[in-house]
């Protein structure tokens, strides 16, 4: 639609109404003589602001002058986001994005002004990725605010922010942010291609984009990294990765991603070196426990009991006397209950969820033991697993392991340690198949990149100037050598 702007006020109003199907929130205002028409959507714009910034100054102008042109109008009204539009299509699109249209009878163009009043909330501390050390700030739903959070902390002219609108109907603003002289051009090109190929009516959250740009949307592992922490986004940009922000979403996307990144927390780098190493190592141990403990428990106590010292095997088996179900059934039952708790507590009001969770957990656990449904050992294994599963900083990878844990329990029950080994290798193989924007998901472990292994289980010291080569940065070094010059 490239229909020109009509010069008649009435025609202009009629065409706008028709283009939008005469919506409930469309309003037109006009100063006394009716030559100027102001169109806006009340859901976006505040009527008081329209009055203060447009109607009142125009009223004063009309009182002084009878014949007036744009030259007289423009100096007295708001200047915010002013654009000139010559087609109705552009004008309607602006209106839908919260702009106010100002039409002057006799002109074949209009001016549009950004009067979008966003639903804002105050920045809060991160809900999922909480840390002891580091900024207590999470992303907001407003893309402009989120870009500001990054801009404020990377004051560099190489910081590239590219905008694109995705969604045939929602026309959601999406921004790709990266350092032009650091990020790999190949990855940047892939981001462009994949974002450009998205064909959908509307983007509701960044999760939509993640699924569209993922190398393998059917992968059980997250091939993009989602975060609510601006500091993580900033660190990613400095590493040469690309950040994608979506308007209306309080989560940013980082690409490419490796499994290693999903176990790193921002505070690993805020604490001194040894603290960081200790925390990260414990986090990985916690994850291994969360994934393997229930299946190892089943394999050892239900299938390969000969591996265990006799006293231990007898003690645990003795504790199971009177339990009505086979070991694997009681474990699966308890895992299922824990998953129910997890999901239930997410929906419960925060004021009662903690109390109710603890109370029902303790009471239900004791009752299940007394009723002969589970043994004490199974209860202990389930609780340790549940606690350990929260040790990882990334929610998505935790979810992947929660699903895979069930399959490992089943295969361990059928084939013992052998089944667990094969199951584990198949899962590892599944991870080995995955790429994130052309980079192996298992990097730097597989393929082995010897120099990069230092920043895996251990945290590398901050004074190491070389950037991670996994992401193929153009500029390999973070800072110049002593005495050298770096960047502007």
């Amino acid at each position: 639609m490239t229909e020109p702007i009509p010069s008649q006020s009435l025609e202009f109003r009629r065409l706008i109404e028709d283009a939008l199907n005469d919506p409930y929130d469309l309003e037109f205002e006009s100063p006394v003589d009716g030559k100027i028409s102001i169109a806006f959507l009340t859901s976006f714009a505040n009527k008081k602001d329209i009055q203060a910034n447009f109607l009142a100054p125009l009223g004063r102008l009309l009182a002084e002058k009878r014949n007036y042109t744009w030259k007289d109008i423009l100096p007295v009204i708001s200047e915010q986001g002013r654009k000139i539009r010559e087609s109705l299509d552009e004008a309607v699109n602006d209106l839908l994005e919260g702009y106010t249209l100002v039409h002057l009878a006799g002109s074949d163009f209009i001016y549009t002004f950004d009067t979008h009043e966003r639903v804002k909330r105050e920045p809060t501390a991160p809900l999922i990725e909480r840390t002891i050390h580091g900024p207590k700030l999470s992303l907001l739903e407003d893309i402009k605010q989120n870009i500001l959070l990054i801009r404020e902390r990377i004051k560099n002219r190489q910081l590239k922010i590219e905008g694109i609108k995705i969604g045939a109907r929602s026309r959601t603003k999406v921004a790709a942010i990266y350092l032009q002289d650091v990020a790999s051009p190949l990855v940047v090109q892939k981001v462009h291609e994949r974002l450009g190929k998205i064909s959908i009516d509307g983007i509701v959250d960044s999760g939509y984009i993640e699924q569209y740009i993922s190398d393998n949307p059917l992968s059980l592992f997250p091939l993009t990294q989602s975060t609510e922490r601006p500091d993580k986004l900033i660190a990613a940009v400095l590493e040469g990765r690309i950040v994608i922000l979506v308007d209306g979403s309080s989560n940013g996307i980082i690409v490419p991603v490796t499994v290693n990144e999903l176990y790193q927390s921002s505070e690993d780098y805020y604490f001194p070196f040894w603290f960081g190493v200790f925390l990260r190592a414990f986090r990985i141990i916690g994850n291994v426990i969360a994934v393997l403990l229930p299946s190892v428990y089943v394999a050892l106590f239900a299938v390969n009991a000969s591996l265990l010292p006799i006293r231990m095997a007898l003690t645990v088996s003795g504790g199971r006397i009177g339990v009505a179900f086979p070991l694997v059934v009681e474990l699966l039952f308890m895992e299922f209950v824990v998953e129910l708790f997890r999901e239930g507590s997410l929906r419960l009001p925060t004021t009662v969820s903690q109390t109710l969770g603890v109370a029902s957990g303790v009471i239900l656990g004791l009752a299940a033991v007394n009723a002969g449904m589970v043994s004490n050992a199974t209860l202990v294994v389930t609780i340790i697993t549940a606690i350990a599963s929260y040790s990882g900083p990334n929610y998505e990878i935790g979810l992947s392991w929660r699903i895979l844990r069930f399959s490992l329990i089943l295969i361990a029950a059928a084939f013992g340690l052998y089944g667990l080994t094969i199951g584990g290798l198949v899962i590892l193989g599944h991870a080995a198949i995955q790429d994130s924007f052309g980079i192996s998901f298992l990097s730097p472990w597989a393929p082995i990149l010897p120099k990069e292994l230092i920043d895996t289980i251990f945290r590398r010291p901050l004074w190491m100037r070389r950037r991670l080569q996994i992401y193929q940065p153009v500029d390999e070094y973070r800072a110049a050598k002593k005495g050298g010059k770096k960047d502007e």
């Binding site: 265990l308 052998y418 290798l425 198949v426 082995i448």
Partner: protein, 370 residues
């Protein structure tokens, strides 16, 4: 340029990881048996002799072939050297040797697992589980196998060596003496008999074009062979040094038995042997996947009309059926052991033949393939 032979490109470190995983994963755990039966208490020398007899000439041959056919593996190089009809026969025998080796290895591993892990589980269930797992990995090409090998290489090597060092617990040096207990002929025979431990190293003729730094080819190959030599040597010394040469010959999987006797106070596990089998199974799984994958790729190179995925599935079915056809008895095992020793011949003689003929006929990589 032969795309099949060059994909996926990989660094020497990853070539090392792949070869070391293949060498240790396809170990039949019975080297101490062979070594002690030929040379008695000083059987540990046999593996060192095997290294000299097999590994060093193999590396030299691989380097020479690579120089002559830099972007061709043995399958495509043989076409230039021997001509199409002869190379087809040769390539099929060459690839068939790997298939036979996998069949024997899976049969043997199933027997170990049934004996030590899962006495009541039927063999077919274990074979099906293993082949399904391998199938999932290899239908996605050689890349996931390479990555898997790289991922498990370091931790598995660490734990394998740790257990083998612990298996030296209770070692009686007297049982390893005299240092030269056998005649030179026995050492030579023993060396030839245990040379099949390095059989997986011959896959280098299929994968050397993948190496992104061709000039460094001998380094990863020699490192992989040396690390394996060390592990095999420790295994033989551990078995003979703890049980003595005579008793070692009574065990089917003497390397495993040597680890099985480890006792560590306060260790949660009663038997460390089963953990050793977990490590060996992991290495075996990846090594078998590697062999399946290179054979399927090799067949596709030979017969370009074949689809890689369907070839993989066909090979899995073929090997699965063959494994389950053989009875698990003493006679089969003895025959297989003997047969395994001879399998080394086609995979070593064929590349040598290709090289010699190419030199005589003055054949090199085709001009358009340089």
């Amino acid at each position: 340029m032969n795309k099949e032979a060059l994909s996926p490109p990989t660094t020497p470190v990853n070539v090392f990881a792949l070869l070391v995983v293949a060498l240790l994963g396809l170990d039949f755990l019975d080297l101490p048996y062979d070594a002690s039966s030929f040379c008695g208490p000083s059987g540990y020398w046999t593996i060192v002799i095997s290294f000299g007899l097999m590994v060093l000439p193999l590396v030299l041959l691989a380097v020479l072939l690579q120089r002559r056919f830099p972007k061709e593996n043995i399958i495509s190089a043989s076409k230039s050297a021997l001509g199409k009809p002869l190379s087809m026969v040769g390539n099929l025998i060459f690839l068939g040797s790997y298939l036979t080796w996998i069949t024997l290895a899976i049969r043997d591993s199933t027997t170990v697992l049934i004996n030590c892990f899962l006495n009541r589980t039927p063999a077919w269930a274990l074979v099906v589980l293993l082949l399904l797992g391998i199938g999932y990995i290899i239908i996605n090409g050689l890349k996931p196998v390479l990555r898997l090998a790289a991922f498990i290489c370091i931790p598995m090597l660490f734990f394998r060596f740790l257990m083998q060092i612990f298996a030296l617990q209770g070692l009686k040096p007297d049982l390893l003496l005299p240092v030269f207990s056998a005649s030179p002929v026995s050492y030579l025979k023993g060396g030839l008999a245990t040379a099949n431990a390095f059989f997986p190293l011959t896959t280098v003729f299929l994968i050397y074009p993948l190496n992104t730094k061709p000039q460094k080819l001998p380094i990863p190959v020699l490192w992989a062979a040396t690390i394996s030599l060390l592990s095999f040597f420790l295994g033989i010394v551990g078995a003979i040094g703890v049980f003595g040469a005579e008793l070692t010959q009574r065990f089917n999987w003497s390397e495993f038995i040597a680890v099985q006797h480890i006792y560590i106070t306060f260790l949660v596990f009663e038997q460390v042997g089963l953990l050793f089998l977990v490590i060996w199974t992991s290495l075996f799984f990846v090594a078998a996947a590697f062999l399946f994958s290179v054979v399927a790729k090799g067949l596709r190179q030979q017969f370009p009309f074949l689809n890689y995925r369907w070839t993989c599935l066909g090979l899995l079915l073929l090997v699965g059926t063959a494994v389950l056809l053989f009875p698990d008895d003493f006679i089969s095992r003895t025959v297989f052991t003997e047969y395994r020793r001879w399998l080394v011949l086609p995979v070593t003689v064929y590349p040598l033949l290709v090289y010699i003929v190419s030199v005589i006929r003055g054949k090199r990589a085709l001009p358009n393939e340089k």
